[in-house]
């Protein structure tokens, strides 16, 4: 996701090719009117068009490709989570992510995008773009966001972010959540938690945006937000029966690793796509994303080696996801060396977050949404304030190591505001949904598994191999 301020910055940064084109165009109009009088009629329309932002096909190609990449992350997340649950909950875990795509894709078009991005107040967007504003969000570029691509491209790219955020939460309360409760919660949560937060951080009139807290691709909006909300939900829904004594190992590690691979793959769209242009900044974001992820995956493996004698694939993958999370807010503001530091930090923070911290606190965060997305997102948002530099993105700010200690403070305001807002509002929603349909299935349903009890489906039928 692109930080608004960066759009202008982008333009400055890539002055020599994008601005230049526009200038050439204007110059052209002038010249044409002198030297090529016979072409006046033709250029008239052109001159008018010259005022409106035009589409750069390269930028649009990258943004559309990025949108597709981010889409595949959500089913990838389903596999990542699904591989870690017990067989009897596999279908449900996949379904929880999959249905979010179905619901939010429609909700976003109807009112979600408007609440998040339409000009409104400091807190939330207006309603003028509901249903895409009867064409207001159309094939022409917006003059607010991503001015070189169709407004629809920007809208659908954002849609994919709104989709994956609630899907991330499902890891925390996996194996013990009623699907009816989840169905009800999704649209409520998207409207009351996600939309305001996205507005705060990315809309040009959002308060955090104006305040100057940096978040390139969603460290707060996506990761802290999902972790804080998940935290509220697991306090309401309680621990799994038998946790922690009887917890069973992941049922399918290849699916887990495939999910991780799809996440890593899609995350290039997530972060580098947030430059909303096929620019140098996109390339930079792409590079730091890859480097931080790799560093974090490696760090986690080393820590496992030290603490448990053997590095596991679950560890390497967990580390990679932690790295992806941590680099997200920073990806458009830091250079490659900083990204290694962020990655190593993410590996360390999330490793201890999922082991020591979780054990100490005792909550049942089934697949470590808090330990990875909460801790990693917080570290990433903080690290952005440490390592960010205008050498990478002139539209950003310099961070602590470049002497601007204040930026770290701004980042922390953003972090804390996000944690509190999301935790608070989600608690209210959880209370409401619990009152209406109940959050938790019966003990018998939990024992026989979510697949049978919620879907009457069984993930694998190998046993009926023949006949």
């Amino acid at each position: 996701m692109a930080l608004c301020v960066q759009f202008c910055g982008e333009k400055q940064l890539i002055y020599n090719f994008k601005k230049e084109r526009e200038m050439r165009k204007e110059a052209f109009v002038g010249m044409s009117s002198v030297f090529a009088l016979s072409m006046i009629a033709l250029f008239a329309s052109n001159a008018m068009a010259g005022d409106a932002p035009t589409i750069d096909t390269g930028d649009n190609a990258w943004l559309l490709a990025s949108s597709a990449l981010v889409l595949i992350m959500t089913p990838g997340l389903g596999l990542f989570y699904g591989g870690m649950v017990r067989t009897k909950n596999m279908v449900n875990t996949l379904w929880m992510s999959f249905i979010v795509i179905c619901i939010i894709s429609v909700q976003w078009v109807l009112w979600g995008y408007s609440l998040s991005f339409a000009p409104g107040g400091w807190f939330i967007g207006g309603l003028q773009w509901c249903g895409l504003g009867a064409g207001a969000v159309g094939q022409a570029p917006s003059d607010l966001y991503a001015t070189t691509v169709p407004h629809l491209s920007f809208m659908i790219f954002q849609c994919m972010f709104a989709v994956i955020t609630p899907a991330l939460m499902t890891g925390a309360f996996a194996e013990r959540f009623k699907f009816s409760a989840w169905l009800l919660l999704i649209p409520l949560w998207a409207s009351a938690v996600y939309a305001p937060l996205a507005h705060w951080v990315w809309a040009s009139d959002g308060w955090l945006y104006k305040f100057g807290a940096l978040d390139f691709a969603g460290g707060t909006v996506v990761h802290i937000c999902s972790a804080a909300s998940a935290f509220a939900l697991i306090l309401f829904v309680g621990k799994r029966k038998g946790y922690p004594a009887e917890v069973k190992p992941p049922h399918n590690l290849p699916f887990m690793m495939l999910g991780t691979a799809l996440l890593w793959f899609g995350w290039f769209g997530f972060n580098a796509g947030s430059a909303v242009a096929a620019s140098g900044l996109a390339a930079s974001a792409f590079v730091v994303t890859n480097t931080a992820t790799a560093a974090a995956g490696f760090t986690w493996s080393v820590l496992e080696w030290i603490h448990h004698k053997k590095p596991t694939i679950l560890g390497a993958c967990s580390g990679a996801v932690a790295g992806l999370v941590a680099i997200t807010p920073a990806s458009g503001f830091v250079g490659p060396m900083a990204s290694i530091a962020i990655g190593v930090g993410a590996g360390l923070a999330c490793f201890y977050g999922t082991t020591k911290m979780k054990k100490a606190c005792g909550y049942d965060d089934a697949l470590d949404v808090i330990g990875i997305h909460g801790v990693g997102g917080t570290w990433g948002a903080w690290a952005t304030g440490i390592f960010c530099t205008t050498a990478v993105n002139p539209a950003g700010f310099d961070g602590a190591i470049y002497g601007n200690i204040a930026q770290m403070g701004k980042q922390w305001i953003g972090i804390l505001a996000t944690w509190f807002y999301c935790f608070g509002v989600t608690s209210l929603l959880a209370w409401f949904v619990n009152a209406v349909v109940g959050l938790r299935p019966s003990e018998g349903e939990e024992i026989s598994g979510m697949d049978i009890s919620q879907h009457k489906e069984i993930a694998y039928h190998y046993e009926s191999e023949q006949a």
């Binding site: 922690p244 917890v247 069973k248 190992p249 992941p250 496992e304 603490h307 448990h308 053997k310 596991t312 679950l314 560890g315 967990s318 490793f351 999922t354 082991t355 020591k356 979780k358 054990k359 470590d368 330990g371």
Partner: protein, 112 residues
């Protein structure tokens, strides 16, 4: 007739099977099972959580044989699947009252 049920290490199955075939007792039924005896499970560690896998994979080999062949076969299996360390498994012998070959309907010893 007797039923010989041997619970052995999965990695020994091929060797045992080949040895039995050489002895000339090809008929056998194999089942994947899990179990523990003196051998305790292994511990898997993920994200700081400890999963004790205390039922380890074993293979159960069942052979129905004539009374006179029991000793020979038991010796053969023991020899081929012994490693001397915990987890080698056990052999159980019980009585079978009748056998029927579905293909032909033959019964008794000649159906084995």
């Amino acid at each position: 007739m007797k039923k010989i049920e041997a619970i052995i290490r999965p990695e020994r199955l091929t060797i045992v099977k080949d040895a039995l075939e050489e002895l000339g007792y090809p008929g056998m039924t194999v089942t994947d099972v899990k179990g523990h005896g003196a051998q305790r499970g292994i511990t898997e560690q993920w994200r700081g959580r400890t999963f004790r896998v205390d039922l380890l994979s074993k293979v159960k080999v069942e052979l129905i044989v004539a009374d006179s062949d029991v000793e020979k076969i038991v010796q053969c299996i023991t020899k081929e699947s012994q490693t001397g360390s915990i987890g080698d498994g056990k052999i159980f012998i019980s009585n079978i009252e009748d056998v029927l070959r579905i293909r032909t309907g033959e019964r008794g010893e000649k159906a084995i």
